[in-house]
Amino acid sequence: MPIYGLTNVQESFLKLGQIRKGDKDEEGRPRDLDYFRVTFLPWKTKDGQDGAALLEKRFLEQYGPRPTEINIRLAYPDVRKVWDANFECYKKGGMFASACTDATGAHWIFRRDDTTNEVIIRDGQAVNDEGVRFLTQPLDIHAPLYSYKSTKGEMVQVGFDPVGHLFVVVRELADLAVGFFEFRPESPRDIRNISSELASFDLFAKQAGKDISGMPFILRRRDEQVPKRIGNQLSRGSSWVVHLDLGGDWANKALQVIERKALPEFIEAEEVIEVPQSEPTDAKVAEQEPPAIEKTSEAPKAKAPVDPEETEVIDPLDSRAIGFAANVWNISLKKAREAIDKAILTGTLKQPFYKAAFKRFVKNPQGEPPTA
């Protein structure tokens, strides 16, 4: 299959769009869907075509308008580079704060000032004194971070929400552009599912001697009965939960490899029979000795043609000579030049610099091995 992006896109790993699991109803309220809704970011190919339209057309051809399964690949072998989940809070559409949790509690990653919107914590580090003040206080992940009075006159309190970011490559679109889609689950159940499934697949891949970038995955929505809390009532209801599954025949093949690895190793060996040592007799020695070669008078040797490289004089500090040495020694040009320089200074390389002599030096920079 030709690579359309070879001549038509920048050499960038572009974000091509988002895979979503919900949208907004007529009144602007968020609602969950039972399929994936894929949106495409605008970008132009080098020849001016609408890249998003090309991708959307191909996606619809492959998956239709309401896909519940998408074939994906992960672009990096490290889970941390393809998946993260943190608590995030947005203010008027912009990131206001983010935090993570571990066994010791919750920690700030990013935070803006309440009134000035100035960044006070970035990458978990305080930018100013206000940031230090926040970092030294315990963080309650469930507490509201700010409140505002809406245009309807209601007081709205805003706090942290869990948000996951999974960066995936859609296999059927890979020949159109080098890029990824972001799947952004915001339900704790989906985040938990993807975290645990990705961790187990990572372990599985490592056991088979591979990594997650080589595995074909399916991002899947599945109707499951899950507990739901409505007010103070707990009930069970249907929900289209997201899962990450292995696609193709990869899992079966990997299991075969793992099973083979789990078996004890059989080493093929020959039985060794010890023979009692005895002094070799003259007859045995005679057998072991190679047959003597009758010496004949040497025929006069034909005069060998002179190799033109033996007489061709070169500059050993010329870029081509340095390049040759660097390639043979598998080192940088700078180091190769230094080594040649040193050889000239110490007299290992002597004038006139014949090409053949230079090549011999490069092949054996320590000098000829001492002959017995």
């Binding site: 790993f13 008027k92 245009t151 309807k152 490559v169 080098v178 390639n327």
Partner: protein, 109 residues
């Protein structure tokens, strides 16, 4: 006055004049990376900040211009890595590596 994407029934918070100026100066639309425009809502002290094509930033989000620059630089760096990580998808984009013999031949040795 016709304000794009303005819905009086939707509970927007709105931006003060200073906030709106900052938003327009420092942020772009997260969908098309296009510039934002402030609109004053008549009869109130607040403004809406919108992308002319994709809507109110309080609904669609916004992203700083600096973030876009960082993202683009990261995307350029990531390109070389990902085409090698997924050679079955993008292997044709990997520039052919010359052998040592080829390099030496080209250098005249």
């Amino acid at each position: 006055m016709n304000i794009p994407f303005y819905d009086p029934g939707y509970p927007y918070e709105g931006f003060s004049d200073i906030e709106a100026d900052e938003a327009v100066r420092d942020y772009v639309c997260p969908i098309c990376y296009g510039n934002l425009t402030p609109y004053h809502i008549p009869g109130t002290s607040v403004n809406l900040v919108v992308c002319q094509e994709h809507g109110n930033v309080e609904q669609i989000g916004r992203v700083t211009k600096r973030s876009i620059e960082i993202r683009e630089a990261q995307a350029r760096r990531a390109f070389k890595e990902v085409i090698r990580n997924l050679p079955d998808l993008w292997g044709e984009l990997i520039p052919p590596k010359q052998s040592v013999e080829q390099n030496i031949k080209e250098l005249g040795f």
